[in-house]
Symmetry: D2
Subunit: 132 residues, 4 copies
């Protein structure tokens, strides 16, 4: 599964160098991820379930700067899905210009009040919807 997410740079995302601060790219990638889940009829925080997805890793390579008010696209796709974890590959572009590329991985965890997160299997319905 893959998804194209459209976004515009906000003023507070820029820094004194006049470009988007690099810490916003993981957020852009997550926005696209969650939009993809919604497009699949899912939510990353499913109501009534005590599961969630904890980040295992994130990496971003920066190719060109992004400026205030520019429109850009985040292309996200599922690079791998195992019993307990999902890995995404992302590409951020402005028109034909490659701005950044990145990866994110998350593991399905059970969250119970007062307990440590524990890795569990991704619900079958979630896997089905993300694979279609």
């Amino acid at each position: 599964m893959e998804y194209r997410y459209q976004r515009r740079v906000q003023f507070y995302e820029t820094d004194l160098a006049g470009i988007v601060h690099f810490s916003w790219f993981p957020r852009y990638m997550e926005e696209a991820e969650h939009a993809m889940w919604r497009a699949a009829g899912l939510s990353i925080t499913p109501a009534g379930l005590d599961i969630g997805f904890a980040r295992v890793s994130v990496s971003v390579e920066f190719h060109a700067p992004l400026f205030f008010e520019e429109e850009f696209q985040v292309h996200v796709r599922i690079a791998a899905i195992s019993r307990r974890s999902i890995r995404y590959a992302c590409a951020i572009t402005r028109g034909d210009t490659k701005i950044a590329t990145g990866t994110m991985a998350a593991v399905c965890v059970q969250r119970r009040p007062g307990e440590t997160f524990r890795a569990v299997e991704i619900p079958a319905e979630v896997v089905d919807r993300l694979k279609s």
Copy 2:
């Protein structure tokens, strides 16, 4: 009760105008508020209790810009405390320069899973510690 909180401007807090973006001032004020609570032996999210503090209002007036790496102070004091709410007055300064002044108010609420926040009385111990 009052408290003086010391802080330095971080790179990601600046915007393309080369100054701290105004949305950081409510955060600076909250950092000082929570530091004051810790100085009083308290936490804004008390362990084992289902209460919290929900913002009712915030206001900030800006007098001078703040720049990257500058050190500044946030002076916070309790301007009023009633049975269910607390109002703070804040002043942000860099040396003798007045940067910003602001107010924040919060109401004590009961938080129960799946329920709406409901205003409740501030625990007596909290009031005692904040008034001393």
Copy 3:
């Protein structure tokens, strides 16, 4: 002039209380402000001009919490415009529910490298476009 801006709550905008952190509301208001400027054919950072708009004040009152993935509207309108400053009034709603109301004011400043901001008159073309 007024504008209605549509937005969805992102994951990183929530806090441990499970709701949008109050510091995001000034950002939502600014997003709407800049979208209104774009709708008027303007940019808050006009290319080729050495002027900008420095915040003078911001205030927000919170009426109801906002949750992850919820869609909401920011209604922004120019409450007053003088020779050098603009004041906005904002209302944030989720359907028929009033979430927050706020105000923001900004003053037009000249920005020259190495110099302090100096209040100047808002260019006539900007005033014309914002008033139409």
Copy 4:
């Protein structure tokens, strides 16, 4: 060169899962980087020079969650320094618990108004101070 940076988790850094949102870790790493530069008598944005450092890459692996008000350390060290770029290795710990590990790389660029960033050599004085 290496540096140990002490920090406390702020309320607005947590998300609805009750832990620090993963997008804050690149920021924590950058805070430690800039503190190391200050400890070396440098600033990442040297006054009077038209150079800066543009991010080339960032990666973080997450080992354990970090919670509100917890104190943690960011250990940053220069893993490699070439004529035009610097690579950092970071470890984020809370006491003996390993929270996250990461890397960042930046390239020295010339910034001139209206021009594209252009990679240039890191000034000799900067290299000397960072290597001592």
